[in-house]
Structure formats: C-alpha cells, structure tokens
C-alpha cells in the first residue's frame, strides 16, 4: 500500500516538475533534423532542415512577440541531417558577434557547409564532394601525422566533419585547414583527409574515453525495411583499432 502511494507521489512529482509543455508550433515541410547555435544566453538560433521543402530555415526567439520567428531561409536540395558548431573566436577577430557553421547532409546532393552569422544571414561557403549522406558528425581537430591521425587543435578552431556516405561501405572525414583570416570568411579550405570503412553507416557518434577519442558507426543501414542494427556487442561496431592504419582514424587523441 505504501509502495503504491510512493509510486503515485513519485509519478505526480515527475509529471508536474518535468512537464513538457507546448510552446509553439511552426509550419515545416518534411522536417528531418535540427541544430542550434548558442551565441549568448539570450541569443540562440535554431536551424531546421526541411527535406521536402528543399529548405534550411533559421529561427530566433523574438522578445516582442514571445515566439520563435523565421529570420532566414536558404535553399538546399533535400536537406536531411545537420550538425552545427560555433566559431567562438571569430567574434574576437571580426567583432560581429560570431559565426556559426552548419554542415548539411542531403538525400540527393553533396554535403554543404553553411556559415550562419548571429543575425541569421546564411552563406554557403563550401561543398563537400560526398554525394548523398546518411549521417554526419563533427569534431574539433586536425591531422598531425599518420600514426596519430587527428588531435585537438591548440586553437580549437579547425573542424572535421565525418560523413557517412549513402549506399557505400565507407565514411569520409573532411577537415578544414584554415588560417585565421579564412576562418571567418569561409571556414577555411575543406579537404577530404580519410576514408573509413563503416559498412553502410546510418549513424555516427563520437566519444572520448580514457583520453582516447573513438568514432562509433551504426553500421548496416540499408533501406527502410531492411535495416540491420549495429553490432553493439563487439568491436565490429566501431571502425577503429589497430593494426590497419586506415581504420585507425577513430582513435583521436585528445
């Protein structure tokens, strides 16, 4: 009896304290993914990929109307997955409130790198020649040498985007190799550094454990009705581990 009462109280507390309350709805056309930039506590941009609308839209909280409003839109063919990062140091260099970058995967086109400034202006700065992609992941780093493919940059300004290529047993890592001047303008020069065997990956994730960074690949993506899940019980799940130096690029030393 006491247990039932305790459960009831617990559920009541959870429901009240952790309530998910609808704030607003907004029209989308096949919204597949979102990302956000936090420029400050009061200024956050929400980026929405609308696959069927061939559109990436940027929303911002409007303090007058107290709702999120679309402040910019950019046409991209069938955008699906987004990953974003803020180039924090740009604000110091350019004094314009900072930039954010968003990498956009498409179900029909190459991966695009967009620059979004704090006012919501969108500029396409790069295209990664990957073709349609299933998943993206972004990390700070750059290539140092063959035995240690990537390390966190001292300036933490270089970015690498890992792209799981649709329909291929491989993913690619593209990194920006930029100077300070290039960073704010276009995010640097993007170069494909590595190709990884990821067995038709449908999802990518990065994790750092004991100072070593690993990439996890959800292998086996086929189609809607023919999905094989990741081999989560074994190392096969991951694409790293020696001795193959090509497959070793997921061991990213911090």
């Amino acid at each position: 009896m006491l247990a039932h009462f305790a459960n009831f109280i617990s559920a009541l507390i959870d429901f009240y304290m952790y309530a998910v309350l609808l704030l607003q709805e907004f029209e989308t056309l096949g919204a597949r993914s979102m990302a956000h930039f936090t420029f400050s506590k009061k200024r956050v941009l929400l980026v929405v990929a609308q696959e069927m609308g061939d559109l990436v839209s940027v929303m911002q909280w409007d303090y007058t109307s107290e709702q999120f409003l679309v402040i910019a839109e950019h046409t991209i063919r069938a955008p699906t997955h987004l990953v974003s990062w803020v180039a924090e140091q740009d604000s110091e260099i350019h004094g314009v409130g900072g930039y954010g970058f968003v990498s956009v995967a498409s179900s029909t086109d190459n991966v695009a790198i967009l620059r979004v400034d704090s006012q919501g202006n969108i500029t396409r700065v790069h295209t990664l020649a990957t073709g349609p992609a299933e998943a993206l992941s972004v990390f700070k780093g750059h290539r140092l040498k063959d035995s240690v493919p990537y390390s966190v940059s001292p300036s933490e300004r270089e970015r690498c985007v890992m792209v799981a290529i649709r329909g291929h047993d491989s993913s690619e890592i593209h990194c920006s190799h930029q100077s300070s001047a290039e960073m704010g303008v276009g995010g640097g020069r993007w170069i494909r550094d590595f190709i990884v065997n990821t067995k038709k990956s449908g999802s990518l994730a990065l994790v750092t454990l004991s100072g070593t960074r690993y990439m996890l690949s959800g292998n086996g993506w086929g189609s809607d009705m023919e999905v094989r899940c990741a081999l989560v019980y074994s190392r096969d799940f991951c694409c790293f581990h020696p001795p193959d130096p090509i497959n070793n690029l997921c061991s990213l030393l911090d």
Binding site: L2, A3, A6, I9, S10, I13, D14, F15, Y16, M17, Y18, A19, V20, L21, L22, L23, Q24, E25, F26, E27, T28, L29, G30, A31, R32, S33, M34, A35, H36, K41, K42, V44, L46, V48, E51, M52, G53, E134, A135, S203, A205, L206, V207, L209, S210, T212, L216, G218, D224, M225, E226, V227, R228, C229, A230, V232, R235, F237, H241, S251
Partner: protein, 212 residues
C-alpha cells in the same frame, strides 16, 4: 529512417559514466539487433531501444595499443512505437532521456507519442528508466534540446503525418517548474520544497526496491 546513436556522459558524484543510447527503428533488438526485418512479421516485433554503458580497458603500452572498449547493457527501453532519436537532458542534476518516435509498429500511423524518460540512479548506477510523460508527434524525426534564458527548450521536427509532409514541428518547454527551483537566484522556500521533493522521490524509490 536510420536509427540513432548518441553517446552521453552522465555525471554521478565524482565519476563520469559514458552511455550509448541506441534507437532501433524497426529492429527487434531482442535478437541482438542483427538480421533483417521481415515486413510480414512486423506485428510480432517488439521495438526496444537499448542503453549501454561504455568503458575503456587500459592497456600496458600506450599509445601503441589503444584501450579496448566494452559495452555493457544497462537496460532495454521498450517503446510503443519506433524510436529514431534519443536525446539526453539534464535538469537540476537529474537525467532524462527524450525519444522521438517516428511511427507505430504496424506502420499504420505516424500520429504517435514521443516520450520523456527519467533515469533513476542508485549506488552510482542507473537503477531504472521510468516513463515520465508522452506528447503527440507526427512522424517525429529529431529532437533538439537547447537553453534560452535559463529555460530548457525541446524542439521536435515532425516529418510526416501519413498523407502529407506539410506538418507543424513544435517547440516545448521542459521542466519549467523544476528549473525555477534549482536555477540561479532561487529563493530559500523553493530550496526547501526541492529538498522535500527529493526526499519523497527517495522514499518512492526505496519502496519500489522493497517491493521488488
């Protein structure tokens, strides 16, 4: 719709545990997430997502050999619908998982509830993943969590309603009451209430353990 991997570090005291959340969309994870889905047997499938803890086993001679990673299943999370996206949220040192459910098991409807789960921890490990709340979504594909002015917001991209891709996506506030009690500038009365709630939760958890 691809399944989703998400790695999340959950801090518990001085230790940080890494967890891998696997959303298995249309995959019978009870069969170790392998093999193919037979469309004719969809009705018999149980859709389960899995939460794993991750650990790295140190090796003697770094960096010639990298640590080996092992995965230990913490729990399975049965979802009434096909989960495609998991997102972790922390509120006042409490851990939650949000899941985007894309469609129901029979492929008959995209009007399905997505959900919030609370991770209950005891003795430094996760003891339970309890459903807290559901909210209706239409072919939900992604959940994005961010903070604006100290308020945790949850944005959900809705993809499809079964006949049209022209469906509204939504933004929710999450845990507003809780945030007001443990955020900066909290009044003493709120702190006392927060402590009382924590005591109640502890009692509730204790009673659940005793029942088991």
């Amino acid at each position: 719709m691809p399944f989703r991997l998400d790695v999340s570090s959950i801090k518990d005291g001085s230790a940080i545990q890494d967890f891998l959340m696997v959303a298995c969309a249309g995959i019978p994870c009870a069969q170790h997430c392998q093999g193919q889905v037979d469309p004719e047997n969809l009705n018999t499938l149980t859709y389960t997502s899995v939460l794993y803890s991750m650990s790295a086993n140190p090796v003697a001679i770094p960096p010639a050999h990298f640590p080996e990673i092992s995965f230990v299943q913490v729990t399975r999370i049965g979802t009434s619908s096909r989960a495609v996206w998991w997102q972790r949220v922390e509120l006042c040192a409490r851990q939650f998982l949000l899941v985007a459910n894309h469609f129901d098991q029979q492929l008959s409807s995209y009007y399905v509830p997505s959900a919030v789960y609370a991770l209950r921890q005891s003795a430094g490990s996760i003891s339970e993943v309890a459903a807290v709340q559901t909210f209706m979504t239409m072919g939900a594909a992604h959940i994005e969590v961010f903070t604006l002015n100290g308020q945790t917001l949850v944005a959900v991209s809705n993809y499809y309603n079964g006949s049209s891709y022209h469906v509204p996506s939504a933004i929710y506030s999450f845990g507003r009451e809780y945030r007001q009690m443990c955020g900066p500038g909290v009044e003493p009365a709120s702190e006392i209430l927060l402590i009382a709630i924590r005591v109640l939760e502890t009692v509730a958890n204790t009673q659940q353990i005793m029942i088991i």
